[in-house]
Symmetry: C2
Subunit: 218 residues, 2 copies
């Protein structure tokens, strides 16, 4: 197996032949991070390549060196933003053991995204879904797949909660997952529209009550 760790013989030899690939990766990730924040805040159409140049401090060629087009940069920036936001959700979920508690932690995670977005601009799923629903077929498929994983995660938590004897077996896991995510994303929308966390608090309280309503009282 090739040792690709920084400082390994492979990396040293590769650097000689192909230049400093490590630095290229750092630049690439820096562009992705800046572009993700820009597109997530202002939208794909609202942010121009000039904005990306300003944010990264790179010339146009320096960006096109890593991404062949604005489209490609936007797609990868969405993936990046989704990964960062998912990691924040996972961080909350991993603190808990039982599925019912993870479901509650999901609400906490969205509260955290609303109060201190891991990527500037709020939830990349919401922003990209709303912007791409009338066009951008490639981005739409990308967002659908990301949303699929979020919905499947919640659905699985409900199913596990049933298996673990904490959630009523009559619960429709798919319906709960869809309504749960719709409510959280709508809560983020209201919170950002009013720049007021009170909206997310209302939505979170309502969702916690809904979780309690499907819970088997101990």
């Amino acid at each position: 197996m090739t040792d690709t760790r920084p400082g390994s013989i492979f990396q040293t030899v590769r650097s000689v032949f192909f230049g400093n690939m490590g630095k290229g990766k750092v630049t690439r990730d820096m562009i992705l991070g800046k572009a993700a924040a820009l597109f997530n805040s202002r939208g794909y159409f609202g942010a121009s390549m000039s904005d990306v140049m300003n944010a990264t401090g790179l010339e146009k060629g320096g960006i096109y060196n890593h991404f062949p087009s604005k489209d490609q940069l936007a797609l990868e920036a969405f993936d990046f933003a989704f990964q960062v936001s998912s990691a924040e959700v996972a961080r909350h979920l991993n603190k808990r053991e039982r599925a019912i508690d993870k479901l509650m932690a999901f609400v906490d995670a969205f509260m955290s995204v609303a109060s201190d977005p891991p990527v500037a601009g709020g939830c990349p799923l919401l922003n990209s879904a709303v912007e791409c629903d009338d066009g951008h077929p490639e981005m739409k498929i990308r967002v659908q797949k990301a949303m699929d994983t979020v919905l499947a995660t919640v659905e699985k938590l409900v199913e596990n909660g049933i298996s673990e004897g904490d959630i009523k077996p009559s619960t429709d896991a798919q319906q709960v997952a869809r309504s749960f995510i719709a409510t959280l994303e709508g809560g983020i929308m209201l919170t950002r529209l009013y720049s007021d966390l009170a909206y997310m608090h209302s939505v979170a309280t309502s969702l916690r009550n809904q979780i309690k309503a499907i819970q088997i009282s101990s």
Copy 2:
């Protein structure tokens, strides 16, 4: 009182002095309707003045004759889109007498907006809220005010439902209103992302159950 009806002496005299104002109004409304559909579908940044020219069949001057800037056109197009969408909601609510039934009708109204949007592009509140939350302060205030009226309508329905003895008096009207609208807007987002009404059906079923949960069983 001046008789401003079409064909009145006032209108005839005005036409002589100021030209055919009626036609001007018709053109203005046509521009608003086309611009509302464009901005609601593609966003403020996604739709250009060239797109508005194409959709209306007018030259740039013909549009600037009625709207001094793209900004002003976007603001008035949002008002127009919100009025048209609100009328669709009102049509559903007016069919019912009691507040609790009007609350159920609110869900039907959003189902109708999701399945056959009165303005192309879906819900103007959701689209404009998401696009303007990181900038466009004038549009943000406009959307906040529109959202205020929607939230106040739902809150008032819950309060009236309590007064009419249909809803449990312990219900937090503000919290229900915020969660209700967040869920409906999130439902529209999912439905449009997947181009599949099944998502709105799931959300609607969940909301109807939530209304039943605060209802005093007869």
